[in-house]
Amino acid sequence: MAYSDKVLDHYENPRNVGSLDKNDPQVGTGMVGAPACGDVMKLMIKVNDSGIIEDAKFKTYGCGSAIASSSLVTEWLKGRTIEEAYAIKNSEIAEELALPPVKIHCSVLAEDAIKAAVADIKAKQAAKEAA
């Protein structure tokens, strides 16, 4: 399997590895995938009161393309609003990393992780407003 230089760069030097405090009301967590399928992504975003993503961290169990996809989106997410984040398409990730067809599912997973993290922060905000 030949990897693109961008995949190799993210794999060798992953950006924003780690976790945020999941109990922080400003932090949304998205965990997608399954160990049985060979990939699990955990994406955490910290959103300020203006709805802008201040920080993003990830941990990924998966192949090089899965690690690169999640590393890339953490870079993309910082400074964006949650609406902009929600609009990121897997095809943009796949294109940026030049993923081969058998690895497209890695970019799908990264998109799903963003959507799950955004949904989590929205649920937290809604719960806060209801309280």
């Binding site: 990897y3 590895v17 399954a34 049985a36 060979g38 699990v40 998966g62 899965a66 058998v102 599912h105």
Partner: protein, 417 residues
């Protein structure tokens, strides 16, 4: 661990471009002594061994018969019981299809094991398409076959059983004597795939209750493209030819003999016979060193029985680390992964699944196979490399984080995709 090895691991090394070869179960380099012996039979002694009318043919025939004797000697068989083939895949096909078809009037049921090589499993599947019935037995979690389960699978119409001697992925050694005795008691023809066994375990076909046995040259420092099938003479086992033509090999396998390849296999098997005891001691020491080094890492699991196993194979799962990224990380060594993620299938090893290993553990496995040219330095480098890369990948792994937080991963509801 020497400082220079640690530097190599950290900074990358020459091994990234020329990885250390630890995939001897996939294939072995041809021993230089074997190559030297083969060359004259490509150039000057080029005759067809079937040519009876001139010295070119006689010279080639003599070389073929010498090699046949060497192959027979390694497994204590009669040279007349050795049939040349193109490799173990052809030997397995010839043995299984040949015997099943010849004896099909006796019955049409075949027993084999789910951890066999595809050359056996797919051959039996083909026979199923032709009207045979088959039972595929799961081994125990150790990789070894439960003899009672084997007995229970026998039917009045069972005609053939096929069980490998040494498993290619996990290196476990099946109890061929016991299985063969059960076959004898029940009048079942017994085939054994020994492709991974020659030069590693002693094989004595005068004593072993085995009727057909497959061999390969390239797993034992011989060339690719040549193998052999042992066909017992007493009591005589008959097989239907699968390749028809000039009636070579007593009609069992037609086709001009590849003299140079055969000479190579003979020489490789001679060396194996003379050197295996000493070599196995050395390889066991290296294996123990590798195992001890890797077992210092948390959450590692050896796949397959560690006692009833050749020392050349170490198949280990590194929990919470995904197989393909692991292979990517360890490019300084040439190993094989139990995870076939590099193909489009995303399927973990069927052998590890048959042992009852979870998908995660099956995905996270690496097969290290040690051989004739492996050194202490190779093993030191490998241990150091694995430790460093496993640490790095676990730092990235959400599963490792959850495990460290005490989360029971089997209770998590995953969003499967």
């Amino acid at each position: 661990m020497s400082a220079s090895i640690e530097m190599q691991v950290l900074k990358g090394s020459e091994h990234d471009l020329h990885p250390i070869y630890l995939d001897y179960s996939a294939t072995t380099p041809v021993d230089p002594r074997v190559a030297a012996k083969m060359i004259p039979y490509i150039t000057e002694h080029f005759g067809n061994p079937a040519s009876r009318s001139h010295p070119y043919g006689w010279t080639a025939e003599k070389a073929v018969e010498n090699a046949r004797e060497e192959v027979a000697k390694l497994v204590n068989a009669d040279p007349r019981e050795i049939v040349w083939t193109s490799g173990a895949t052809e030997s397995n096909n010839l043995a299984i299809k040949g015997a099943a078809n010849f004896y099909s009037a006796k019955g049409k049921h075949i027993i084999t094991v789910t951890t066999e090589h595809k050359a056996v499993i797919d051959t039996v599947r083909e026979l199923e398409r032709q009207g045979f019935e088959a039972t595929y037995l799961d081994p125990e979690p150790s990789g070894l076959l439960d003899l009672d389960k084997f007995k229970a699978a026998i039917r009045p119409d069972t005609v053939l059983a096929s069980v490998m001697l040494v498993n290619n992925e996990i290196g476990v050694i099946q109890d061929i004597t016991a299985i063969g005795n059960i076959c004898r008691e029940n009048g079942i023809i017994f085939h054994v795939d020994a492709a991974q066994a020659t030069g590693k375990v002693h094989i004595d076909l005068e004593k072993l209750p085995v009727d057909l046995m497959s061999f390969s040259a390239h797993k034992t420092y011989g060339p690719k493209g040549i193998g052999a099938l042992y066909v017992r003479r007493k009591p005589r086992i008959r097989i239907e030819a699968q390749m028809h033509g000039g009636g070579h090999e007593r009609g069992m396998r037609s086709g001009t003999l590849a003299t140079h390849q055969i000479v190579g296999m003979g020489e490789a098997f001679r060396i194996a016979r003379e050197e295996m005891d000493e070599e196995n001691i050395r390889i066991r020491r290296l294996r123990d060193k590798l195992l001890n080094g890797l077992q210092n890492i948390e959450e590692v699991y050896v796949n397959g029985d560690l006692e009833q196993r050749i020392p050349h194979n170490l198949n280990i799962s590194f929990n919470y680390v995904e197989g393909e990224s692991l292979i990517m990380a360890v490019k300084g060594i040439a190993v094989s992964s139990g995870s076939a993620c590099t193909s489009a299938s995303l399927e973990p090893s069927y052998v590890l699944r048959a042992l009852g290993r979870s998908d995660e553990l099956a995905h996270s496995s690496i097969r290290f196979s040690i051989g004739r040219f492996t050194t202490d330095e190779d093993v030191d480098y490998t241990i150091s490399l694995m430790k460093g890369k496993i640490d790095k990948l676990r730092e990235l792994s959400p599963l490792w984080e959850m495990f460290k937080d005490g989360v029971d991963l089997s209770k998590v509801e995953w969003a499967a995709h």
